[in-house]
Symmetry: none
């Protein structure tokens, strides 16, 4: 998987004037986006408000509308931004993996690391389902497409069970990773009630065994469906 950075907008333009952004404008836009990440993550979409975002960004309320059309539009921009960043983190992590399966594992490790550092990812992305279903699909699809390409390559290399359907498997892995991350990173609290800095290695290893089992080519075809006969 290449580590290309997919840029979602060619050139940023002001929704108010339709003109491309100046240097100053781009900086303001970024501050708004950063503020939005915090506010949406802490309060959720509906509790969040434009004033809260602009206050946190340190700009006037009206300024918001110079850069975004609406609350929903900054939310979407944020999801796309997070998606780009998480995929970037995953690619980086996979960059120097030895084998295909190692790469897969490294990708998950990168994903969990990013999640631990940016809990906003879950909170924001999962809420997108109810705010902007299309961007949510985009988000999942972009990640899953990466998995799928990786799986196909691994199958060609003989590292992955050739009988597995890459698409279904990719979605399975995505769902697995997402829920494991939710359960063992976001829900987890240490003795002091604070979130863990990273995924518990024991859990990661357990998950790895699950994945390895699932993906590895069968050494001998079991007679599974008739196993009781």
């Amino acid at each position: 998987m290449s580590s290309e950075l997919i840029d979602d907008e060619g050139e940023l333009v002001s929704p108010a004037t339709g003109r491309p952004l100046t240097k100053r404008g781009e900086a303001t836009r970024r501050r708004l986006l950063e503020a939005a990440e915090v506010v949406f993550a802490e309060q959720g979409y509906h509790e969040a408000s434009i004033v809260k975002i602009t206050e946190r960004a340190g700009v006037g309320l009206g300024t918001f509308y110079l850069y975004f059309d609406s609350k929903q539009s900054i939310f979407e921009a944020l999801v796309i931004d997070l998606n780009r960043r998480v995929r970037h983190a995953m690619s980086e992590a996979m960059a120097d993996a030895g084998s295909r399966l190692d790469a897969e594992r490294a990708g998950f490790a990168g994903f969990f690391r990013f999640t631990a550092e940016h809990p906003a990812l879950y909170r924001v992305v999962r809420e997108a389902e109810f705010v902007s279903p299309e961007v949510l699909r985009l988000h999942y699809t972009r990640i899953v497409d990466g998995y799928e390409a990786g799986l196909r390559a691994a199958q060609r290399a003989g590292d992955v069970d050739p009988e597995l359907d890459p698409a279904t498997t990719a979605w399975a892995l995505m769902g697995m990773g997402e829920l494991i991350g939710m359960r063992f990173l976001l829900w987890e609290r240490d003795a002091d009630g604070r979130p863990p800095a990273a995924m518990d290695p024991a859990v990661f290893d357990a998950m790895s065994r699950f994945i390895d089992n699932a993906l590895a080519p069968r050494t001998q075809e079991p007679t599974q469906k008739d196993e009781k006969g």
Copy 2:
């Protein structure tokens, strides 16, 4: 996995009067809950409104507060209700499975069947994350607990890789099933743009192979981690 039906409320009482519900009262409560299922599923939590629910239930607005404390409280009641029903559907499906692994498969089949028939499940349950995180945890946990118990039993019976951690694996399966359901049931549309009545068997089989691989005891320990050596 036992097919116990967890009843979440001992005796229903009116939040307004604190008195137990009459027959007529119980019927009204149920109508409200049914209306809520439709309205929440169609419009989402925030778009939904009490008036829409009472109108659909065919009762006066004020009546609502005879049975529920608030919008959030009927939502939570609905999530718990759906959880009870989906677990029931899964238990039923697993009831006459041959082997442990068959039961696992049957459980997923039951889950998908329920999902196809009650799309509200996803829409409502997943939104619970942002409305009532505690009930969402309850929902996931209750289902996962079932998986976990099943896995332990299967491990004891030698049907499942004894090296797998049951808890992690259960969450992995839950996430996998959830995302496969979302992608291949809820997002899927046929030529006429209508949702499929059931999960595509090919996808189900592909997923089954993935699960079988993951869970089956290894016939011989692969040297995977050292495969480059």
Copy 3:
């Protein structure tokens, strides 16, 4: 001209619920309409605000939306109400006029009397041109239709120049009356800067002579159009 009261709405319904109004509801609606008349007249459409209207009506802000869809919709209702009332005032005034021309004069007198008592008429109705052009047309048309019918009858009775086109003449009369009312009633101020209680009789007489000239059948056809020949 008959003195029928044109009722513009069969049965009043709540825009929020679509249900017919109760006694209490109708009273509240009326209070809002009365408040709106004062507020729109004093401040104009754009300076007026829903809060100002509800405060003056002594009801909560939200109550407004039980009876009207929007600021524009109460404005339209008010124009229609004023139209009904001014036409009623005119009909009453014309009721016991001796001749056709007397009736015409009496109609204007009634119009000016209503205007003096309800300056809101002008302020609100004329502003309708920029808020709701359709209701403005309705307003003018309804009054002009009355004039026109009166003129036709008078022509048949031989009281009005048969060569005059009733439609054009009716609009001419409407415009005349409107501007005379504006100039000599609404703009007029006495020594203390207060608006006059009624139209100056001298002006009314001057206007009457103008109308009498315009409408009366010519005793002999002047050679006016050919006067240069």
Copy 4:
């Protein structure tokens, strides 16, 4: 009626600097005024915005405040400009009229012609009543003063009923012309839904008869006012 052009501003100065305008400055100011005419006419005062005006004028937003104090001030400047132009059009039209009454007719013709060519006149001028009542009075008064002077001259020449009060009559004529113009020019649409290029001659003739009747000296005093005795 003389054809003097009343110039409302001696020398144009920048409201920002207080300095007289350069050639280039005057051109920019004029472009803004022309843009304002279109924008105010199309959208009305409140829908119009400074940005829309500057965009149409092709200048930067800030430039606006080099030439006008405020939205209201450019609006007022526009009304005064339109008033000057419509009076000019009327004077031109009356220039070579034969008789006094012909001149009166010609004046109306000129007014209607200008209206047909510049629908902005009505839209802008009539809205002035709610934006800047003083300029509206100025507008009406300046036109009416012209009528009144014409009427007095015509009375001295024996062309107009000496019993008519010139002031009242002038306002009556103004109102009449205004409403006829509104009804038969601005509201009128042909089969294709497009506004007519000019006033329907039949309507104009009908109106002329009305005016002729109203103004012409009575050949014999009718017994109208005593008709009931």
